[in-house]
Amino acid sequence: MSTSDDKAKEVSAEADVSAEAVDEVETASPPKVNEKKQDNGGLGFIILFFIIGLVGSLAVGWWIFPKLLYSQKKQPIDFNHVLHVGTVEEGCESCHYFREDGSFSGVPKLAQCVDCHEEVMGEDPEELKFVEEYVAKGKEVPWLIYSRQPDSVFFSHAAHIKMGKVDCVICHGYIGESTHSRVYEENRFTGYSRDIWGKNIAGLKKNTWDRMKMDDCAECHAENRAVPKTVETLPWPISWMPRPYEKPASSQIRVHIEKDACFVCHK
């Protein structure tokens, strides 16, 4: 890139040429004054356009792009977690339980809901809709899953919840305290939920549950020195965005790649 001095020289040289051309046509006019005026106006414009470009693209990048990237979707049924958690006996695990083989059930299937909702129980129109449209027809509810990871990610709930004693809230936030289903924002490009990247388009987060990217896995694993080590031992930062958190002072993330490290999570 040329320096600003170079730029000025180039500009004035060019102005000289145009001045000569003018001389040839209009012999009498004093060229110096005109040259000066044009020069100032041109520079102003250049700066103005630079600013327009800069501000415009910043606006696009920070404001319009996220709006375009995500579509807003409503859950098929507005679900009240508070109401349900109050009724069931075992908290989250009443509906989101571990199967016999240790795999995690995730979002309940219709069969589970039908255990209670064979008939309409309350007066909520959403429940009526649920019973009429899904229970009566035996159709699964097409729930939109906020925390669904891309297919390349292997995540075991059992390893984290049962062995690591990680609380649900650490990753999923206080979803159990919601009375309505919030809007599901789907990435039009990838088809995944906005919750994975996080609400903040810059990737900043305040809470552990604000983002669910690989860096977030690594952060927690580094802090807790949790096995498998491979998660915390990547030699390069995955994201080039500024990290919103301080690395644990006591430990540097060590460069230590074990064989097959990637395949612990990327089967």
């Binding site: 500009v11 106006g41 041109g42 414009f45 250049i46 700066i47 103005l48 356009f49 630079f50 600013i51 327009i52 470009g53 800069l54 501000v55 415009g56 693209s57 910043l58 696009v60 990048g61 920070w62 792009f65 990237l69 199967r99 083989d101 795999s103 059930s105 995730g106 299937k109 891309p150 297919d151 390349s152 990435n187 490009f189 990838t190 088809g191 995944y192 990247w197 388009i201 810059a202 990737g203 994201s239 080039w240 965005m241």
Partner: protein, 733 residues
């Protein structure tokens, strides 16, 4: 003031700077990585609850146990069932690809009625009620006219409840024409009957044999129960020897301890030559021969006079010294076993050959012994009351069978499907007015495809029960699609070649995916529509109820374990093993050891065409699924063109990989040449299982069907097809 080029550049630079300072590039880059995982053509099984269902694979007569992994309601993978007596966790390429037969594009999704010409492929969707009414109307008309015997049924099996229901229906309806698809089972059953006097299937205690003499059997290429044989082959590697006798270096030959190339079709002579040496050197089991066999002296005279190693060497091309050393090794082995039936055993073969090979087993006394050949009785769990026939049915049943089985000429043979096309085309006996095909694809699998098609065209009413649009279904008038094997209940009695009686239970792994019906239920519905004695013979509400009642107290075990086996089973001891007129093993050899003459004369057709089988190509009722066809090498199928193997000496004038025209008395085809040192000169080998004209785009029009180039050759004693090849010639394309 005007906007200059410089201002525009400045705008771009500002824009670029702003974009770089925004999260857009990073975010889009990240998203594009994730986007690559969302391509719709990348198959990703759905997430959900994993479960496993045990069942039995019925894609071939091997009867392997399978465990199907499911996620929610979707079957994801078929694996071999651990602990199953046949395959213990193993599975073959066809079984592994079974899901493509469940979810693939080749299925018939609803009953179809032909509206165009036969084979044109124009169909009308009809309801099950209409379809059954159609069948009942046609069968009713025939029965009223006293033509019930003109109805025939071709079935893939004759054991198990489905086959018994079919047979029962034909009986009570009044037709003698229940015909099973031919295979080496026919020859082996007949051998057992003639030499041992028992109606039993043949079982081989292969796991315990330590010297296996195979007369062309594709031991690891689909002969018997394929997975079991491959496992047995691993045992032999450790503690046994395999000698493979055949004109071509097959995979079995390549993996054997010794490969003996032989002039094709002369295996019976070689067996008797070996018998000659064993008898001459008194290496036979004297206890068995002296006490439990009859007419040994007569057999001995024939063998000693006519089959000296020198004579046999001339016939077979195997040197006399090799014959002697083979005989010695066989007789001296502690548990020798001789088997026959070429390739996967789909052609019955000549009875002489089977009897000659079985005589070898008798000479070394391995009948019903550890590591030997066992007579395995069918598990007799089907105990239905005798049917009561009305007069029409009794008259119909008294008519002679259309295929000539059980006739004066072939009194002991039970089914002769290979004779059916000729019987229909020649019109010598009576015409067949209606034909039912269950679990079989005769238009593809029976030799002389043109004659088979012609015969089909002469039958005015053909009903196929196939789940797939196979060649037979495509040439029928009505298709009543059966559930595929992963959607239905079915009992699977002792798999082919197993040495102990077991019953397997195929269970529905998933719900029926389409508007199909179990063939057992369809038979019940048809019978009930008739009323009277026909309906009385079928007192069950549904096939499932019938199966459950028939299996009685075995049902619970079958549901839990997937199979039932008689743990106390032991083969009959020699004192009581033989039910021949003499009560002993009979060495009699009904027609001498004449080799079967194949079709074609030597002048016009200087070469001999033989087929070969491969584990990668299903050549039976089921077509090879896409996964399997993907594994076929370029030396078998190059693009859509079939490749034939020829010895470089024979194919001097043909360049490797170039085209040639292969002609036989039955037809001709364009092929590619592959020079193969592992095949005897003068022989051309063609893979079986290709050349489908039906099924899906992955299989159709790939190569040619061997059955289009060969016709059946009748065995003089049994009437079964004994053609092991056909004369052929290669000309430049």
């Amino acid at each position: 003031m005007k906007v200059s080029r410089r201002s525009f550049l400045s705008l771009i630079i500002g824009g670029a700077a702003g974009t770089a300072l925004s999260p857009l590039p990073a975010k889009l880059m990240d998203d594009s990585a994730i986007w690559t995982q969302m391509w719709p053509w990348t198959p990703v099984p759905e997430d959900g609850e994993v479960s496993h269902v045990d069942s039995i694979c019925t894609l071939c007569p091997g009867g392997c146990g399978i465990t199907v992994r499911k996620v929610n309601d979707r079957a994801i993978k078929i694996e071999g069932m651990k602990g199953h007596p046949v395959n213990d966790g193993g599975i073959c390429v066809l079984g592994l690809s079974g899901l493509q037969l469940l979810y693939g594009p080749t299925r018939v999704k609803t009953p179809l009625k032909r509206i165009g010409a036969r084979g044109e492929g124009r169909w009308e969707k009809i309801s099950w009620d209409e379809a059954i009414a159609e069948v009942v109307k046609k069968l009713g008309e025939l029965r009223e006219k006293g033509k019930s015997h003109t109805v025939a049924c071709i079935s893939g099996a004759d054991r198990g409840t489905v086959a018994h229901l079919l047979g029962r229906f034909l009986t009570v309806y009044g037709s003698p024409n229940f015909i099973r698809i031919p295979s080496i089972q026919d020859s082996y059953e007949l051998t057992m009957y003639l030499m041992q006097g028992v109606q039993a299937s043949v079982g081989f205690d292969v796991e315990n044999a330590d010297f296996v003499l195979s007369f062309g059997s594709g031991l690891i290429e689909g002969w018997g129960s394929p997975v079991r044989m491959i496992k047995a082959n691993s045992i032999w590697k450790e503690q046994g020897k395999v000698v493979q006798i055949e004109p071509r270096l097959s995979n079995t030959a390549a993996k054997s301890d010794k490969w003996i190339p032989i002039n094709p079709g002369t295996e019976a002579a070689l067996a008797l030559g070996i018998a000659h040496v064993i008898i001459q050197k008194s290496m036979y089991d004297t206890n068995f021969v002296n006490n439990y066999s009859s007419d040994f002296e007569e057999f001995k005279q024939i063998v000693l006079n006519e089959f000296s190693p020198d004579d046999v060497a001339k016939i077979t091309g195997v040197s006399a010294s090799t014959i002697e050393s083979l005989a010695k090794s066989f007789a001296r082995a502690s548990k020798p076993l001789a088997v026959c039936g070429r390739g996967q055993g789909e052609t019955p073969g000549s009875l002489n050959e089977f009897m000659a090979v079985h005589a070898l087993n008798a000479l070394v006394g391995n009948i019903n012994k550890k590591g030997g050949v066992w007579a395995v009785p069918d598990p007799d769990y089907i105990k239905w009351p005798e049917v009561e026939m009305d007069r029409v049915a009794a008259d119909g049943r008294n008519k002679a069978r259309i295929d000539g089985a059980g006739s004066k000429r072939y009194p002991d043979t039970r089914y002769l499907l290979d004779r059916l096309p000729d019987a229909i085309n020649s019109g010598k006996d009576y015409p067949i007015e209606a034909l039912f095909v269950v679990g079989a694809n005769p238009v593809y699998t029976i030799p002389d495809s043109n004659a088979v098609k012609e015969a089909f065209n002469k039958v005015p009413f053909v009903v196929s029960f196939s789940s797939y649009m196979d060649e037979t279904a495509a040439n029928s008038d009505l298709i009543l699609p059966n559930h595929v094997f992963l959607e239905r209940y079915e009992d699977v009695p002792t798999p082919v070649g197993l040495q102990k009686p077991i019953i397997g239970l195929a269970k529905p792994v998933v719900k029926p995916q389409f508007n199909t019906k179990h063939v057992g239920d369809v038979i019940l519905l048809i019978a009930k529509s008739f009323g009277g004695r026909i309906a009385d013979a079928f007192p069950w509400e549904s096939y499932e109820a019938c199966l459950k009642k028939t299996l009685g107290n075995k049902w619970d075990k079958l549901i839990n374990d997937g199979f039932w086996s008689d743990s106390n089973f032991k083969p009959a001891v020699w004192e009581s093993a033989f039910s021949t007129p003499s009560g002993k093993f009979e060495f009699l050899n009904k027609g001498g050891a004449e080799s079967i003459k194949i079709e074609g004369d030597k002048q016009s057709y200087p070469l001999i065409l033989i087929p070969y089988d491969s584990m990668r190509l299903a050549s039976g009722f089921i077509g090879a699924p896409p996964f399997a066809i993907k594994t076929v090498e370029d030396t078998v199928l190059k693009g859509k063109e079939i490749v034939v193997e020829v010895n470089p000496k024979t194919a001097k004038e043909f360049v490797e990989g170039r085209h040639a025209i292969l002609s036989t008395p039955k037809g001709q085809a364009k092929v590619r040449i592959h020079h193969f040192d592992g095949i005897m000169p003068g022989i051309v080998a063609l893979p079986r299982g290709l050349g489908h004209t039906a099924y899906d785009e992955y299989l159709v029009d790939k190569g040619i069907n061997f059955n289009e180039l060969i016709g059946p050759v009748e065995d003089l004693v049994s009437g079964l097809n004994a053609a092991w090849g056909i004369r052929a010639k290669l000309t430049r394309a």
